[in-house]
Symmetry: C3
Subunit: 379 residues, 3 copies
């Protein structure tokens, strides 16, 4: 909130992009710097190194459910603190790179463990958030060191899945009803892709169904199932990058359409489950890891399709344990496309250490003297 007030008075320019001026000012106070690091950590789930974006997302989580917002904030604070205690790179901490896994661990465990506001569940969130920081540090060392790509939210996925699958057999595991092991089987004959809010709800194969699928598809990245939260998140993204906000909507739409084309369960599509991996994947490829061109824009759409295919595959793969696919589909799809950076001569990759915002990547490229004689295509 301090961050919001401070930047609000300084006009639009001061909250656009990565807010470097504000970060420098926040560094004057350890508490402000910590809060700024945490808020940037929320934004980093969507590659937005911007505390206002992070704050908007946190608000969206609280709007959906107070326990969700609290659990996410708990994981966020613990994972960021852990990074400081272990002695991780200060620049990475300040950019929120040790917060984005933690908030997802907290939010994810709050959804799949029961009951809400349980002290033991909070303990597991603290433990999981700590280990997410350790694992992210390890994975980043391998991924960036050897392959020049980040591990995205892999640490959150591994830590959350490790806890949930073990919890099946722990007296204190607290797994809730959403984790329901079952036999994998050929169910395609019984699947209907009619959009609807619940199995027994009326058909929503119209503009209402489509809007729900797309906007809940935005909010589901943060384990919120809410149209309003989806709108707040899109606005939050737009503060940092309009291109990112557009690709988020495009990606969620592509995920929905892929689910419809495959004939996936319409209740899942309506509730946004086919959108959240695709939205983050499209956003990453369309401007963040590649300078936005027609080619990278089309690849962003293709990446959203692959993320949706992977969502169907991983959900099916996890059936015997009743585990959620989380954001593994986003991680694998995005890795596949981002790793093309050295394979294709037609793409213009942005090195991990040079990433700011899609808009800034475009303007930096225009400023390069004579690298290319043709004007740069932007979507």
């Amino acid at each position: 909130m301090t961050a919001d007030a401070a930047t609000g008075s300084a006009g639009w320019r001061s909250i656009d992009g990565t807010m470097a001026d504000w970060a420098a000012r926040a560094d004057g106070s350890p508490l402000l710097a910590f809060i700024d690091s945490c808020l940037r950590g929320i934004g980093q789930v969507c590659f937005m190194n911007n505390p206002v974006t992070g704050l908007a997302i946190l608000v969206a989580m609280f709007v959906a459910e107070a326990w969700l917002g609290f659990a996410g904030a708990l994981g966020l604070v613990v994972s960021t603190l852990s990074a400081i205690l272990i002695g991780m790179d200060r620049g990475a901490i300040r950019a929120g790179l040790f917060g984005f896994n933690g908030i997802l661990v907290g939010a994810g465990l709050s959804l799949f463990l029961q009951p809400d506001w349980d002290v033991l569940v909070m303990v597991w969130i603290v433990v999981g958030a700590f280990f997410s920081t350790v694992l992210h540090g390890a994975l980043a060392s391998v991924f960036i060191g050897a392959w020049k790509v980040p591990p995205f939210t892999l640490a959150f996925n591994f830590i959350t899945l490790i806890f949930l699958i073990g919890a099946l057999n722990f007296a204190n595991g607290r797994v809730g009803g959403l984790v329901a092991p079952a036999d994998a089987q050929v169910t395609r004959g019984e699947v209907s892709n009619t959009l609807r809010a619940a199995t027994d709800a009326a058909s929503a194969n119209n503009i209402e169904g489509v809007l729900n699928a797309i906007l809940r598809g935005i909010s589901q990245l943060f384990f919120a199932n809410s149209v309003v939260s989806g709108i707040i998140i899109i606005l939050g993204l737009a503060v940092c990058s309009r291109i990112a906000a557009v690709f988020a909507l495009v990606g969620s739409t592509v995920g929905m359409l892929t689910g419809l084309a495959l004939g996936a369960n319409g209740v899942a599509i309506y509730n946004g489950l086919w959108g959240f991996n695709s939205f983050d994947a499209a956003l990453a490829v369309g401007g963040v890891f590649f300078v936005l061109t027609w080619r990278s824009g089309l690849l962003a759409v293709a990446c959203a399709v692959l993320a949706a295919l992977l969502f169907g595959a991983i959900a099916s793969l996890f059936t015997p344990w009743g585990l959620p696919a989380l954001t593994l589909p986003f991680v694998f799809a995005t890795l596949a496309f981002v790793l093309l950076k050295d394979a294709s001569t037609e793409l213009e990759p942005v090195a991990v250490e040079d990433i700011t915002t899609p808009e800034n990547h475009l303007s930096r490229k225009r400023a390069e003297p004579g690298v290319e004689s043709q004007p740069v295509a932007a979507a």
Copy 2:
């Protein structure tokens, strides 16, 4: 066919090895170059950068089943075209390195999806072939960049499995009866390794059973279950490399023997399922990735055994989803042995960028002045 006619008139030498002269001539016409790239892509499934070998394999697929040949060709063309559109390295495309995953995706989906000649199945093949090119580009970047080994057919395996496992729950998934989820259980008491064509067929524990196991073991790499196809493929391999053809037969034989020794299902052995991974693995180690010596020849046999062990393991691992092991056993076994290149001082590895044919590796080595005073052992 153009390729075949052109080279046929130029005599034996012109179709042996990698046919560099022909490739240079084909480059004169974009269409010829594209066809040549595609045919080399078929041969590259067995590391044969030779369009005549590729053509022979395609014929073998059509001989087994026209739909199989068509589906494979569709995947092949789409994956090669995709590589051109994305802007992949032209030399790699011309060597067929963006075709071998595509033909396997097409062939594999044609077998495991139903019905034959279905338009929707063709759509899924096009989608899968496109993503196999993206994924292969990404994997090649990681594997060759960081470890100096290729990812083999990993992209085909991942894309096909991703599609098949999701399809269990897609109304438009089109999975056929060969994908049958079941509980893993200890079945060893009921398993008979008597060679026979089907569960209710007569025993074939004789020369007929053995020949079927070995030759169908060759054809099964391309999802063909046919003795005639196996013979055509062996002849096609021999056009490019006699050493490769011999190791293909040795590998398929070793796979069969490993299955018999373990007491695996005799129907599966008879139909070549224990041969195809082992044949490609033996071929890779025995002359392609290591200069052929007695030691690398013995390791090729050991690699074929490991591929067979992995086939049994992965088939069992995939039981709960009813998925096929595809060529994952070949990939993992071959990786294990090829990665020994820097671990052993007694082996003579061939760097990925220097691979041509086993015969050429041997003659290059003989031409090296004084690296070794002893004559080189060849199998």
Copy 3:
């Protein structure tokens, strides 16, 4: 035994640490060198490059069960011989780095295959031990080459699991009753974490239960379920490193406590199943891969917790096939923490090629002129 006698007469100093003097003397006789390599291979399961430690562990295995000791020794000899035949690096062989996977393959298969002293089981041990050497060579090339960390016991885990899972469907697979596939399900309501020797045994929630859990937790790393074996192993570790012996006990205790906190099955905890991964993980982080400081000591405890969490997760993951978690939890937990070496500026990592003993790492650091002005904290 020769090794023991020779060093016994030379006084305490001669058997402490890595026994470099003895190794040089053993090199005079090929047989002695081979035996020394094998014994060091046993110690290397716990990062102890010391033949007396190895001999103590072998004795502990024979004390628990003669067949266990024999099977382990068989795997050890075969894997070490295989490394010589393939032409692996001689220094690595002499340090026991091609023995530690082999002894575990032999011991593991002796436990999970039936009956004891069966000739066919011995054949599978020979085959598995050979492949463990190939796979370790390959993995070490990738892990050390690209990431500067060793693959730990990954080769043992992969080879043993590959064999066990395939064996479910092999007439000659010889899987015993400990491999029992079952449906994963939410069993937490029926789980009791009361410490006891067996499901129908009396409660042992006292010093006896705790001692059993901790000491059996030591011996279970070598598939021995015995308090006496646990004590012998601790003494054997202390010969090479007192710090390692202390962290072994700390790690096993932390594993037990984590199991109790999660509410895991008390019979499993009593029999040491929650201890063995945690003990090896704590030992690795607390002095071997990081110079021992307060910070690395605390991280060693955290690593033991993660190993325990992973044990619960992997055991649950493997339920559908009835497979054991083996030492995969140790491998993944230790990798996560060891990979922090470049991520944290507060830790003092020891490069893989410089590893000797925790004590030696501390004294080397003290000998460095002026790197740090403050005295070094040691546990």
